[in-house]
């Protein structure tokens, strides 16, 4: 066998392998969603969400929903929005600092620290949130208990590394030429950052936010230690207990009484998927309508 036909064989092998990898991924996605739908679709109805309560009065928060997933959905949604809300400004600023301003030694140390933070198991972050709550309860205010606020803060720590990293990498991967262009025209570093670099890095940064949203929506370990409960209704304030879909799924799957109850667990999983899809869509819309996009219409 000569070199050329050997090379062709290798190339064909690589192509086959790539196809296979794609096919496996596709099959897994189909299998998971398909199984979820198979087990959970029959429970999908307004009753799954609102139970026996009138949907309208539940939505307007006039009546508490006892036997539906509405409070858990609201809890998850609020949790994600709050955590991402804390993490985006801090994480973006951190990423910008690392990419644009940090020099040699500081940068190395921060890189290491963020890698460590990214590698922390979520149960450890949960423990941290729990200890923080205890500490605050003891030394700041007796009113502070595990609650929505504490959960969202702990979760923000969990997703901070994603946002820092994607911001940093998106900025650092911009070609040197692009960086010099604005500066050569007399832009200050800040102007260059806001008018030239960030608009170009935005696409990369949004992917970090998407990752973060997914992570927040699915996490169970952190919230279990910092304020989620099986039954609390729609949270009335940042300082109250709350319900969340992943915790409900965990709770149901570990102690369901009958098949009917287990099916609602699958229903909850489908709802969680839809909430994630919805949040992703919102993230895309926000990205599209950001004011700096005016500067960078491609």
């Amino acid at each position: 066998m000569n070199g050329a036909s050997m090379g062709r064989l290798v190339e064909r092998g690589i192509i086959t392998f790539s196809w296979l990898a794609g096919a496996i991924l596709f099959t897994v996605i189909c299998a998971v969603t398909g199984y979820l739908c198979f087990r959970g679709l029959k429970t999908m109805s307004p009753a799954l969400i609102f139970g026996s309560t009138d949907p309208m009065s539940a939505l307007l928060l006039r009546q508490r929903v006892f036997d539906g997933l509405f409070p858990a959905m609201v809890g998850t949604l609020l949790l994600v929005l709050l955590s991402v809300g804390w993490a985006i400004p801090i994480g973006t600023a951190g990423g910008i600092y690392l990419a644009e301003y940090a020099g040699g030694g500081t940068k190395k140390i921060f890189n290491l620290l963020f890698d460590l933070l990214a590698g922390l198991p979520s149960i450890v972050i949960g423990l941290f949130g729990f200890s923080l709550t205890l500490f605050l309860n003891r030394h700041v205010s007796k009113e502070l208990h595990p609650c929505l606020l504490m959960s969202s803060i702990a979760l923000a720590f969990l997703i901070l590394p994603y946002i820092v990293r994607t911001t940093q990498i998106a900025l650092e991967n911009l070609p040197v030429q692009n960086r010099l262009t604005g500066l050569a025209m007399g832009a200050t570093r800040l102007q260059n950052l806001f008018h030239v670099l960030l608009p170009q890095a935005l696409a990369g940064m949004v992917s970090g936010v998407l990752l973060a949203i997914g992570r927040c929506a699915e996490d169970t370990a952190v919230i279990m230690l910092t304020g989620v409960v099986a039954s609390a209704g729609v949270p009335r304030s940042l300082l109250s207990h709350y319900e969340a879909l992943p915790f409900y799924i965990f709770y149901i799957s570990s102690q369901y009484a009958d098949q009917q109850e287990l099916a609602t667990g699958y229903g909850a999983a489908i709802l969680l998927l839809f909430i994630c899809l919805f949040l992703f869509a919102v993230a895309f819309v926000i990205k599209k309508s950001l004011p700096c996009q005016v500067f960078s219409q491609r």
């Binding site: 010099l180 262009t181 604005g182 025209m185």
Partner: protein
């Protein structure tokens, strides 16, 4: 060409470079270069590829400071608003300097925004708010570089969709829109056809009334057509290479 036939007419010095050293990661690119560039003249910089021509241009607007691990030694003085200024002095504002010393890069570098935005960008960065003035300037400058007729119907279109030569001219317009005192051009005509290149050459000759131009070029006939003097970069040193003296020294 004119100046070489009248070598004794002193023209005021616009840029004075003394004992310039430059290195990337400790590797020396420019060493002990001292030279003066006359005002209202076109000086061509020639030299083999990789000899440091682009690097030299970056020492004149301090752009190299944005690159990692570079070092420079020596002194650069530029006449700004009629006053000689050490551009590396701590009190010299680097943004103001770069507005007075325009630069066109070797590779066309349109920003990912519309053509209009690209050309108007330096004005906006400088804080210009007057919309009418910006529009007038953009049109005028695009006409200068011979691009207006090509793009007047697609000013809102992306600058990335322009051809290489069009991008080059757009970048020249962008560098000129602030009416700088010095223009640093790094092979501005490399992607242009004969006609467009000649148009640019005419333009440069016209611009030098208000502007001091340094142009890096690999095209000797182009250099001969427009340059008042030629500087050669060799072995990290810049040397004047006027037609009359070059025969003696080389």
């Amino acid at each position: 060409m004119q100046s070489s036939t009248q070598p004794f007419v002193p023209s005021p010095v616009k840029i004075r470079v003394s004992n310039l050293f430059f290195s990337y990661n400790g590797r020396e690119v420019l060493r002990d270069t001292s030279l003066e560039f006359p005002e209202h003249a076109i000086t061509a910089i020639v030299g083999p590829s990789g000899s440091g021509k682009s690097t030299f241009l970056m020492t004149l607007n301090r752009l190299w400071e944005e690159l990692p691990q570079c070092a420079m030694g020596g002194r650069v003085e530029i006449m700004l608003n009629g006053i000689p200024q050490n551009i590396y002095a701590p009190d010299c504002g680097v943004e103001a300097l770069r507005r007075r010393v325009g630069m066109v890069f070797q590779m066309p570098n349109p920003l990912p925004m519309s053509i209009f935005k690209n050309v108007a960008f330096p004005l906006q960065l400088a804080g210009e708010k007057d919309k009418n003035m910006i529009h007038r300037r953009v049109e005028e400058t695009l006409r200068d570089v011979g691009l207006w007729d090509d793009v007047k119907d697609r000013l809102a279109g992306s600058a990335l969709s322009l051809s290489g030569g069009q991008q080059q001219r757009m970048c020249m317009a962008r560098a000129m829109i602030l009416r700088p005192e010095i223009l640093l051009l790094d092979e501005p005509a490399s992607a242009l056809d004969q006609k467009a290149a000649e148009a640019i050459e005419h333009l440069l000759v016209r611009w030098k009334q208000n502007c001091t131009i340094l142009i890096v070029s690999h095209y000797l006939d182009q250099v001969k057509r427009i340059a008042d003097s030629v500087v050669e970069l060799h072995d990290g040193r810049l040397r004047n290479r006027q037609v009359s003296t070059s025969r003696v020294s080389l």
